[in-house]
């Protein structure tokens, strides 16, 4: 187990090294220097700026500099916002994204699992069709369209929720729903098909034959076993939520990290782009590792450390 975790961490480090390298050179390839703007800087000033930010060093020196700084979790200064480091920006904006993301993950899991179970229990009946219609719509309607519709109907017309910004729980409801919709639909479909599998298995028949109540059969014996594929979907779920946040935070004007990333892309603020990319990658790789470890705990049939010979 410990050996497996170390091996996985080793892979994460290798992946991160590639990500840092690729983003570094991609950003150097990008057209236009960081200070190229509509207003032409006097050459002297541009020279001085380049000197301060170390842009006059040969590229390999810059690269090694950047690598060592990233290893110390220091992403350097922002080019666009003078006096702010990338770490400041991440530290300031990430809490918003974290709250919104956790809310969306919770919503997607709770409602998705519920819909899936309802669909499986009422297989080929009204409940099943309703749940699957919701699921197909959730997959087909892109999050940014759903967000706009929600904003229009609930904030503008009915005025039930605030239209934008992120100050209270009420502010987080609409973006949370918009962010959760797509993964929710995926989870509902996953849960439905795995629940149907489980409900046809022998131990459910045994439980029924013993005379257990329907409730105990479904909760104790059914859902516990059927939820495993959903757990393995948690990794991709984090990815969906994270990339979804780029657009949802923009639409709802939430000062989160996703919004900051999009902003930095349009501003061509290269250090912020690189820093947030590395940060997102660390977040994802670590959360996928955690999901894999959790998975092995809840399903004793899964062995992380493979024995010699078996696949």
């Amino acid at each position: 187990m410990v050996k497996y975790v170390f091996k996985r961490i080793g892979y994460i480090v290798i992946s991160l090294f590639f990500i840092v390298t690729i983003t570094f050179f991609l950003m150097r390839l990008a057209p236009g220097g960081p200070f190229a703007s509509e207003r032409k800087l006097p050459p002297k000033i541009e020279e001085q700026m380049n000197e301060i930010y170390g842009l006059n060093d040969p590229i390999h020196v810059q690269y090694i500099d950047y690598l060592t700084r990233v290893a110390k979790w220091d992403f350097g200064p922002s080019f666009k916002y003078v006096g702010q480091s990338v770490n400041d920006i991440i530290g300031r904006s990430f809490p918003y994204s974290l709250i919104l993301g956790l809310e969306a993950i919770f919503l997607a899991l709770a409602v998705g699992v519920l819909l899936g179970v309802v669909a499986a229990i009422y297989h080929n009946k009204f409940g099943d069709y309703m749940a699957m219609v919701i699921a197909v719509l959730g997959i087909s309607v892109p999050s940014f369209i759903l967000a706009t519709i929600l904003q229009y109907v609930f904030a503008l017309k009915l005025q039930l929720f605030p239209i934008a910004k992120f100050d209270s729980f009420a502010h987080s409801i609409l973006p949370g729903i918009a962010l959760a919709a797509t993964p929710l639909a995926f989870i509902a479909r996953l849960m439905r098909s795995s629940m149907l599998d489980v409900l046809n298995s022998d131990y459910i028949k045994t439980a029924k034959a013993k005379g257990l109540t329907k409730r105990v059969t479904i909760y104790r014996h059914g859902i516990r076993n059927a939820i495993l594929p959903v757990v393995s979907y948690l990794g991709p779920l984090v990815v969906t939520i994270l990339t979804g946040s780029f657009i949802i935070e923009k639409i709802f004007a939430i000062p989160g990290l996703g919004n900051e990333f999009v902003e930095s892309v349009t501003n061509r603020d290269y250090t912020v782009i690189m820093g947030t990319t590395v940060f997102f990658s660390v977040l994802l790789l670590v959360s996928i590792l955690i999901v894999d470890i959790i998975y092995s705990f809840i399903d004793p049939r899964i062995k992380l450390t493979r024995k010699e010979g078996d696949q």
Partner: protein, 307 residues
């Protein structure tokens, strides 16, 4: 007690032709015929196919029949509501939304189909080699794919869009750089499963080379899962295009895609909601149609997974 009179002829043997008894009445069926029959029974999937065909046709004839083109500005008639003259209304520069919608359909479908096709080509080559050779080569090839897949798809696409000049092909290249991995994994899995089948052993014992076995025996037998993945890749590509265009990283003006149209319409959404409605509706409809068809195909091609 009456008895039936028996005649001599009653004891003659009945002529029974062996041929008739063994005659096969049913039409002979193949895997694909069977799948097609199952697919036809799925009404939703058939409806989805018709929607896709209709969208494809309209993408070509939609703009001409409206009597307008997608790029002409006409500021006097800006922000018109749908009318007999402008069927879907006009946008903030007076461009006809009907013409733009169908031009956008062309762009969106082109991006979706091309990206999916390139994914397939790379995925088949990578996956079949990796799955067929197995061992060390497979280990390395899959590790490369794992590392690429570790970086979130949209993040890579956005980074690439930053450094490349915005355009249709940039978008397609950016989407295929990590898009093929999924396909490669599926093909690899199928090839690994199939390569120990008896017909592969038979082919090898008859002296067929590795290339021939891969091209003639293994790949044709993975077409089912490939087709399903293809159908489900197209909506992802269309979504990604819309997503990027919405962020301002999509196809440059005056080209119209559903994503750029939605993004433009958002500015004046409070006053002219219809401008957002049409592109948004068609994005949803297309994704819905492809998803439904993909599901239908999966059920048809893999009857075991059906419920």
């Amino acid at each position: 007690m009456s008895q039936l009179p028996l005649k001599e002829t009653d004891f003659e043997p009945i002529e029974m032709k062996q041929f008739d008894a063994e005659r096969i009445v049913g039409e002979s069926t193949s895997y694909w015929k069977d799948a097609w029959r199952r697919f036809k029974q799925n009404k939703l999937a058939v409806a989805g196919t018709f929607i896709i065909l209709l969208l494809g046709i309209m993408a070509f004839i939609g703009a001409p029949i409206s009597g307008h083109n997608y790029y002409d500005n006409d500021l006097i008639n800006a922000n018109q509501s749908p009318s007999a003259e402008y069927w879907f209304g006009t946008d903030n520069l007076g461009r006809d939304i009907f013409a733009r919608t169908w031009y956008g359909a062309k762009i969106s479908l082109f991006i979706g189909l091309t990206a999916a096709f390139i994914d397939i080509v790379i995925g088949i080559i990578w996956g079949s080699i990796s799955g067929y050779l197995s061992g060390r080569v497979d280990e390395y090839m899959m590790r490369i794919a794992d590392i690429l897949a570790g970086i979130p798809y949209l993040l890579v696409v956005i980074l690439l869009m930053v450094i490349m000049r915005p355009g249709l092909w940039t978008l397609i290249i950016a989407m295929t750089i990590t898009g093929w991995i999924n396909m490669a994994r599926i093909v690899r899995g199928e090839v690994m499963r199939l390569k120990s089948e008896e017909y592969v052993i038979a082919a090898r014992s008859l002296g067929a080379g590795s290339l021939r076995i891969i091209a003639k025996h293994l790949i044709p037998n993975t077409f089912g899962p490939i087709l399903v993945t293809l159908t489900l890749t197209v909506p992802t590509a269309i979504f990604t295009e819309a997503f990027l265009s919405f962020l301002g990283l999509g196809v440059p003006a005056p080209l119209a895609s559903w994503g750029t149209m939605s993004s433009d319409a958002l500015q004046s959404f409070r006053y002219y909601p219809f401008q957002l409605f049409f592109p948004a509706f068609f994005i949803c409809l297309t994704m819905l149609a492809f998803n439904v068809v993909g599901d239908g195909m999966r059920d048809a091609l893999d009857p075991k997974s059906r419920r």
